[in-house]
């Protein structure tokens, strides 16, 4: 009966594939040493558990009470044995500590030349930026197999934690601060990435997939991702922008009309087009449109705000926007402008995105 249950449990746990009674499959270089440490502790635990419980049951049976007024004459103290069963566990836990420490140091120190990915966590999704290629992924992370990857992570709002069980890596993601973790994937495949620090309502939905692909395919995939928009026609750009580019804006610009560090994107195009925007310098945007003026047309205002946001700061805001010079290609800027123009088609009244990157409606 017990065997059936345990094999049921083991069989039922083929997540990605493989895995043992206790652990999911090993898909990173550190997984093996972590599992080894786990096994050392577990076997020591089995030894003590079965020893203690065995003695317990033995005594329960052998020394069962037979009369109401028994005389018991066991020992009441024995200093030698007290020392033995203090020192032996002490030595064992020291061994465990050392084994654990060495595995830990391995987890902390990422190798030189690791491929870097920048991770942004926010309620309730993950954004992965590949600065080397200028590509962005939301909800999925593509990495090459057999190469060390270092994640540089920060949060936009609350505490989150990034956990990839099959890699055995985890680190909290903290607002206002960077944390790092590194791994080297050993097997091609898809692996779960989970948020594992409670962050509010949709905490249990905050997941991503790690796609581990062959190293020689990686560069090609990244370049393709980075230039996803390159062949798009102008009316495909808004859907691309809201899914792939907006995540860089959302820490300051909301899509549901609510107030934030910067002006909300809802209705932005109407305001910009009409020029009905006041700046801290006292000027009005409308005065900067027209022949020979700074912006000439509203589209230019958007373009130049991305590249030099400090030139004109909208009244009532702090002027905290960073420049995206060098980060956005020309067509991406066009995509953003188109996104503003068609914002109502992209986002519903509650601020949920209505379309996928390829333009298909999202449920």
């Amino acid at each position: 009966m017990l065997w059936t249950v345990t094999s049921l449990l083991t069989a039922a746990t083929q997540i990605e594939s493989g895995g043992t009674f206790w652990m999911p499959e090993q898909a990173s270089t550190v997984a093996q040493s972590v599992d080894f440490t786990f096994d050392v502790i577990t076997w020591i635990s089995y030894f003590f558990f079965f020893g203690i419980v065995g003695v317990l049951i033995l005594f329960m049976v052998k020394y069962r009470r037979k009369t109401h007024s028994p005389t018991t004459e066991g020992p009441t103290h024995n200093t030698t044995i007290e020392i033995v069963w203090t020192v032996v566990p002490l030595l064992l836990v020291t061994v465990i500590f050392v084994v654990g420490m060495r595995g830990y140091l391995n987890l902390v120190e990422s190798p030189e030349g690791s491929y870097e990915v920048s991770v942004t966590a926010q309620t309730w999704f993950w954004t992965f930026d590949h600065p080397e290629y200028g590509a962005t992924q939301v909800g999925e992370l593509t990495v090459p197999v057999g190469k060390p990857v270092r994640l540089l992570m920060t949060s936009q709002d609350f505490l989150h934690s990034l956990w990839i069980p099959s890699f055995r890596v985890k680190m909290d993601v903290i607002p206002g601060r960077y944390t790092t973790l590194w791994f080297e994937a050993t097997k091609v495949g898809d692996y779960r990435l989970l948020c594992t620090e409670y962050c509010g309502r949709d905490h249990s939905n905050m997941q991503a997939i790690v796609h581990v692909i062959p190293a020689d395919e990686f560069k090609e995939r990244m370049v393709k991702l980075a230039s996803e928009y390159v062949d798009m026609s102008i009316d495909e750009l808004p859907a691309y922008a809201i899914n792939r580019l907006y995540n860089r804006c959302q820490s300051c610009h909301t899509k549901d009309g609510s107030e934030s560090i910067g002006p909300t994107f809802v209705g932005l195009w109407d305001r910009v087009k009409s020029g009905d925007v006041g700046f801290t310098s006292g000027e009005k945007l409308s005065s900067l449109y027209g022949e020979g003026t700074e912006y000439v047309v509203p589209e230019n205002y958007i373009r130049l705000s991305l590249l030099n946001p400090q030139k004109h700061i909208v009244k009532g805001f702090l002027g905290a926007m960073p420049s995206f010079q060098g980060q956005l290609k020309e067509k991406q800027i066009t995509a953003i402008i188109e996104m503003f123009k068609h914002f109502d088609d992209l986002v519903d009244a509650d601020g949920n995105i209505k379309v996928n990157t390829d333009g298909t409606p999202r449920d």
């Binding site: 895995g19 007024s69 066991g74 420490m101 987890l107 709002d157 609350f158 956990w163 985890k170 779960r192």
Partner: protein, 562 residues
């Protein structure tokens, strides 16, 4: 002479009927009545939070979630945790059993500060009220740990946060005053002959607990106050948007909350020392080592709080230090378990209900403690932190050990407190149900955690292969809940229709067994003298009264020397 055990005739005047009326209870200064009030309150809170636990378990029967919305689930685990920690298991043994038993076991008439004792109980009630306000007003969904910045965020977290924080703050003072009372009582009110090393081990455990209560609890008080101020005035201590540090909050929080878990477990361990000795009719083995280990656990417990923060962004330096010291705490606990086993050796073990709970404790605490090794080890904790492995571990030690010790103690001292004997048959059935149900519920959660299920997940639709574990866990929880319900029924039944209890039904030697069941209003007419409280050879069974009394011809301690 109220010192020797009385014979058959029921004691008509005892603490229960000495005065009548609800106000004579609500404003009593008698530690026994205060203990009883605490017991009723704590057990009621236990059932209340237990309902939330069942909601959680049923929600997780299916991957998509069966019953609750995500918001409701988040509230459920928050309320379950907060009520269980602050209202049930921290006050639990010290307030409910300690208050009743400690003075009598010590040979005193009452605690050192009876009015303060009453005030502690009222603070518990005020704390409860604030928690109820929190649940009913905005609700709380931050988790019982109230981590920032989520708990600061007014648009994110629900509005019941501030009443909950105030409630916990008030409960902290209830705990501090109880601890203070016990420290002074044990220092000052021991009778002649009761030196430190003649005290029963339950008192050593309670003393160590009281030290922690006094030293550690103010820290959580300050932390919660800072959180209230942060949330209302925005001072910016924990909020990164204003230059604050969320990890600092965690340092503050865990500096108390780790010693708090020793507040939970130490008294239960003290109970187990008593149960094992009395119900195997055997002198405790290694008295001094058990006593010292209680103090060692209390002291080391202050040095290890960072092991709750290994993946929180705590520096590797601190991680290493905390991991190293954490292992030191495991040693005194192991020493206790070995001493208890040695006590059973050549004992005469009666497998009655209290003993079943005590043996369950040893079984469950062994697993709980050993899995602590997995969590204290850095490399494995990175994988296991914030998963169901942790949930399983702390339920093994907090519920399977501390709570089961509490219930074992309730059964052990039930005849003393109520003057009635409960139904032994149902007692054993329920104890076994609780044991089996508990292990079914929580052992599967170890595997859930290590195989990849995070904590505080309202649904696991993307991970349906975990369902079998959750189903087994839920079935186990139903068995366990039934065990508790049965326990409640027969205990309540015994109050009304149980057999009258003799002064010493189990053959205990500590002083509480030398007054009647229930005790008289003033515990002892004259201060009793003290011998070796684990030497049972002076007792013999009396078939008529179905209890133990002093062997005739054997002198009481102190008598020969006068």
């Amino acid at each position: 002479m109220a010192m020797s055990t009385t014979q058959e005739q029921p004691v008509t005047d005892n603490y229960l009927n000495h005065t009548k009326g609800i106000f004579s209870w609500l404003f009593t200064l008698d530690h026994k009545r205060i203990g009883v009030m605490y017991l009723i309150c704590v057990l009621s809170a236990f059932f209340f939070a237990g309902v939330y636990a069942m909601l959680i378990r049923f929600q997780l029967l299916t991957p998509e979630g069966t019953l609750l919305t995500q918001d409701q689930y988040n509230q459920a685990f928050t309320i379950h945790g907060a009520v269980m920690v602050f209202l049930v298991i921290i006050p639990g043994v010290p307030a409910a059993l300690g208050n009743f038993i400690l003075p009598i076991m010590l040979g005193a008439k009452d605690v050192a500060f009876p009015k303060l004792n009453l005030f502690s109980w009222w603070l518990w009630i005020f704390g409860l009220i604030f928690f109820l306000v929190a649940i009913l007003s905005g609700g709380i969904d931050t988790g019982w740990t109230f981590y920032t910045p989520y708990s600061i965020d007014k648009t994110g977290a629900m509005g019941g946060v501030i009443p909950a924080l105030i409630g916990a703050f008030i409960l902290g003072f209830s705990s501090i005053f109880t601890g203070l009372n016990f420290v002074v009582t044990i220092h000052r009110l021991r009778p002649k002959g009761m030196t430190w090393f003649r005290m029963p081990l339950f008192l050593w455990a309670t003393y160590a607990t009281a030290i922690i209560q006094v030293l550690a609890t103010p820290v959580i008080g300050i932390t919660l106050m800072l959180l209230v101020v942060e949330r209302t005035l925005g001072i910016g201590i924990f909020d990164p948007a204003m230059g604050g540090d969320p990890v600092l909050y965690q340092h503050f929080f865990w500096f108390y909350s780790h010693p708090a878990v020793y507040i939970m477990i130490l008294p239960a361990m003290g109970i187990i020392s008593e149960l094992i000795a009395v119900h195997s009719h055997r002198h405790i083995f290694g008295y001094k080592f058990i006593a010292y280990s209680s103090i060692a656990i209390a002291m080391f417990g202050f040095l290890v709080w960072g092991h709750h923060m290994f993946t929180s962004g705590q520096s590797p330096l601190m991680n290493t230090i905390f991991s190293l010291i954490t292992f030191s705490v495991s040693i005194p606990s192991a020493v206790k378990v070995f001493n208890w086993l040695a006590t059973l050796y050549k004992g005469s073990i009666s497998l009655n209900t209290p003993m079943i709970y005590a043996l369950s404790f040893i079984f469950i605490f062994t697993i709980g403690g050993l899995t602590g090794l997995h969590l204290g080890t850095l490399a494995t904790d990175v994988h296991l932190h914030d998963t169901y492995f942790v949930v399983a571990h702390f339920h093994y030690v907090m519920m399977g050990s501390a709570l089961i010790g509490f219930i074992g103690g309730i059964h052990h001292w039930w005849p003393k407190i109520t003057g009635k004997i409960y139904n032994e048959f149902w007692g054993r059935i329920a104890a076994v149900m609780v044991f089996i149900g508990f292990n079914m519920t929580f052992f599967t959660q170890f595997m859930l955690g290590s195989k990849g299920m995070p904590r505080r997940y309202a649904q696991y639709a993307n991970m349906p292969e975990f369902q079998i574990y959750h189903v087994i866990s839920t079935i186990g929880s139903v068995i366990m809940a039934l065990g508790f319900v049965i326990t409640a029924i027969y205990l309540l039944h015994s109050i009304f229709a149980g057999r009258r209890a003799p002064a010493n039904p189990w053959g205990g030697r500590s002083l509480e067994w030398q007054c009647s069941s229930p005790p008289p209003w003033d515990n002892f007419a004259e201060q009793p003298t003290v011998g070796d409280c684990y030497d049972y050879s002076v007792l013999e069974w009396d078939e008529i009264e179905q209890g133990y009394h002093w062997k005739s011809g054997v002198a009481h301690p102190g008598e020969e020397t006068e």
